[in-house]
Symmetry: C2
């Protein structure tokens, strides 16, 4: 290897050209096949060129080495390969996760954020972004009916839900911050059996324990049963535990169900429990008009989490934790940090928001969302959310029209998730022959169709079982705001599942 000084000078001298490489990236991003944003091209553009892990490892030179250096041309080729073999989540036929399909203004904001590469802990290093974060938080508080709320951006919904638990615990027992939970009666939280797994992981991390995260039964719509909730609260009290927290869900992961927040809030008040709402998915209904009643009662919650990267098309990740109490977040999480949150600065240090966070460095997740809201107004997003839900109703109707080929998991649904089975030709039998064996077999269909989806690259829809109902695999289709689908597209989805479904070997 060349000697130290020569290497250092070499890097220094090539930096101007290295910066020019960014222009090559722009060209890659201008290629229509990177985003697949034009509906007229979807028939031609694959969402994914699926390769098995071992094949992909052979195809892309993944190894990093001490001395080996790629040329700029080779780096560009690697980038092209990465684009080619990555999933195009902005393709209008990617319906595999609760995120996907960007708002271009959100992407514009994300690109600028990356370029400006700063952290949102202090006004000093993030002056504009700090103000923007505050603007978003106060706007969302207002929309949620929190007159004196506060909030913070967190790295995803799991973290946002954890903020709720930590705040509730601090409110109940402020000493936990200093002395821990060792002397306490076991704290218990309650969440529906259909709620997100992050509550259980959070209970583990926060030292509460997954067993103290009690699963509450749901009704046929996927909503927490208030009778079971109350019974479980009492049962926890009776076994000497201390109930402290209810997590209600606005938009469950699979069915998209909304719990009865008003009813749950009453129980929370009666038993003196903190009510948190995991609105990571369904928080977008805050902006809706026709479907705004989904969130009735949200303002009674002590806190909630919302991921605008779901439904709205904000780039990953954009997750908000909000609480009704104005100063609790700061009191709970702040500690003395002399090197960062100095109190003798030359500006009003109340604009340094980082000490409210459990993180130190923190991505700027507010700006991309803000740019979208500036470009369209949040009312437009309200209509887009309504449209996504309306389209899901239409899909439900179309599924019903193809009743011999598809079967709905629920008769009606609340949000934009539609869950259904595909029935391959060889399984289409008279209803009375749909016995247990038939159903068991039906549960094996979705994974097989999914494999065809991946290899064809024409459509991606997720599948899942639902243990709370004893149901095996079915498709969960999720509609989002972008790219503003037309009804013909819904026909394509069902036609394509039928086409792929008949290519499988069962």
């Amino acid at each position: 290897m060349a000697e130290y000084g020569a290497i250092i000078n070499g890097v220094r001298d090539s930096l101007t050209d290295d910066w020019r490489f960014i222009e090559n990236v722009f060209k890659l991003l201008q290629n229509a096949d990177t985003f697949c944003a034009d509906p007229n091209q979807w028939d031609r553009q694959k969402i994914v060129h699926f390769m098995q892990p071992d094949e992909l490892k052979k195809l892309i030179n993944l190894s990093v080495n001490e001395e080996e250096q790629c040329t700029r041309l080779e780096i560009e080729q690697l980038c092209q390969q990465v684009i080619q073999y990555s999933v195009k989540t902005s393709h209008g036929r990617f319906h595999n996760q609760l995120f996907g399909q960007l708002d271009p203004y959100g992407l514009a904001g994300a690109l600028l954020t990356e370029a400006l590469n700063t952290s949102s802990y202090t006004f000093e290093v993030a002056p504009v972004f700090s103000l923007i974060e505050t603007e978003i938080i106060s706007t969302v508080c207002r929309l949620a009916g929190y007159t004196q709320g506060d909030g913070i951006f967190a790295p995803g919904g799991s973290a946002s839900n954890m903020y709720g638990l930590v705040l509730a615990r601090y409110k109940r027992a402020p000493n936990v911050k200093s002395t821990g939970m060792f002397g306490m009666r076991p704290l218990v939280l309650f969440t529906s059996e259909d709620s997100h797994y992050s509550m259980k992981k959070a209970a583990h991390w926060l030292g509460i324990g997954a067993d103290n995260c009690v699963a509450i039964r749901t009704n046929d719509n996927g909503q927490m049963l208030l009778s079971d909730l109350e019974a479980q609260i009492k049962a926890a009290q009776e076994r000497g535990c201390e109930p402290f927290f209810i997590n209600a869900t606005a938009g469950t992961t699979v069915l998209g169900a909304f719990d009865d927040f008003t009813g749950i809030a009453k129980l929370a008040a009666q038993y003196d429990l903190w009510l948190h709402v995991d609105a990571c998915l369904g928080g977008a209904a805050l902006l809706a008009y026709k479907h705004s009643s989904l969130l009735t009662g949200l303002q009674k919650a002590n806190s909630f989490a919302w991921n605008p990267h779901k439904t709205l098309g904000v780039p990953l990740q954009c997750s908000l934790f909000l609480t009704r109490e104005s100063d609790l977040l700061a009191r709970c999480n702040s500690i003395e940090v002399n090197y960062l949150f100095q109190q003798d600065k030359f500006y009003d240090v109340s604009y340094d928001t980082g000490n409210k966070s459990v993180q130190c460095g923190r991505k700027i997740d507010a700006f991309k969302f803000w740019l979208m809201l500036k470009a369209r107004g949040y009312g437009t997003f309200g209509h887009l959310v309504d449209h996504a839900i309306d389209m899901s109703r239409l899909l439900e109707q179309k599924l019903r029209e193809r009743t011999d080929r598809f079967r709905l998991v629920q008769d009606t649904h609340e949000y934009s998730n539609v869950c259904f089975w595909y029935i391959p030709k060889f399984m289409r039998v008279p209803k009375n022959e749909e016995n247990e064996q038939w159903w068991t077999r039906l549960f094996t269909v979705a994974p097989k169709v999914k494999q065809q989806m991946a290899y064809s690259g024409t459509l991606m829809v997720g599948y899942t079982p639902l243990s709370s109902r004893g149901l095996g695999n079915f498709f969960r289709m999720v509609l989002t705001c972008f790219p503003v689908l037309k009804t013909e597209e819904l026909d394509f989805i069902l036609d394509e599942i039928e086409r792929l479904g008949e290519m499988c070997v069962y």
Copy 2:
């Protein structure tokens, strides 16, 4: 407001043009003043156009509204304002934080990551990125001397350190995952008084309590005193607590000190404690040649955290948690998640790494780092780390040469942090007149010079007190790999502090 259908159609019809807005963003990013990457332009380019919060609020139209929509031109103007009033952390004279000053290949990777907008939980939605994450983790394990290690990318060093605590607790008491810590003797962890505040916040969040995070005294170099460590372990045992965890630091936040890992590892083994190393800052020395001995003994740690977004110039954020034990991370954090980590997929699901994480959705933080390593080889970064440290030694020497005007906090330093006071003209007195009052006054200088820095926009260097020494505010200058400074630049830094220092009103 227009009717629902018209609004939906309007958004759909404008989307093609909206996507074209991305090209305007490229133009903004091609403007030389966005990155300030050319050393020849630094004299002309301000790092920040500082405005007080209230002024900035008047200048930029921050409010988001229901119906108000900005035109594309207005959005572009807003973006221009955001760039103008944001801090240019890639400017070669930004030395304010431990991050800053990007590698352009890292930025290239970050831009592509944003564009491809996916989450690193499953191979299904992140095929290439999953393999890249695994490649980076196994490379870093190898460099650290972990023959069978495992790891995960986390949203920042605080989260990575938390992983260490959760793993250690799980190893000590696996039942905590299910039943929590309520019945246990208080768990106690030990960390130096100069270590990062994230350990204390983590102790709070994880239910251990900040008081059970015991601060160990440091020596004059800022290294944990082994004698005090052992005394505190014994004291904790004697008061009926259960010591379980030592956090050693590789590169303390202020002084950049490296603890004696070999000595601490011996104590950890003797008392059966988990040894974690917070190498968020100093982990870059893993790649170094001349200065590799800084990390001697790291391979004896059970786990460590490293933020390549510090020192190396990977864009924020890029933080790694690594552990020596191959399957512990999965056993500790995984739970059954049927909708995401299905076991009946059509590929080898061991490539789905997300269940090891406490997060659900997770940013792709590996790719930008990988692209840098592919472009330069990690050996080059080793030399760049050596160079950053060498330059800091040179700065130390230059400070010593200006001994009437500057005073070093330490005679020698280990990493690339250099800590010093500026002595304004009116305070330059014979040594024997440097009494307590003089020192107290000196501690007020840095914040005043800092204010001048912000308003002039010519230089940004952080300041901090150091309570473990009873020291008031001094400058903490941090050198990083990019943009590969020349020695003249060090003279500029000191000249500029002198110039600004004489503009202050004391």
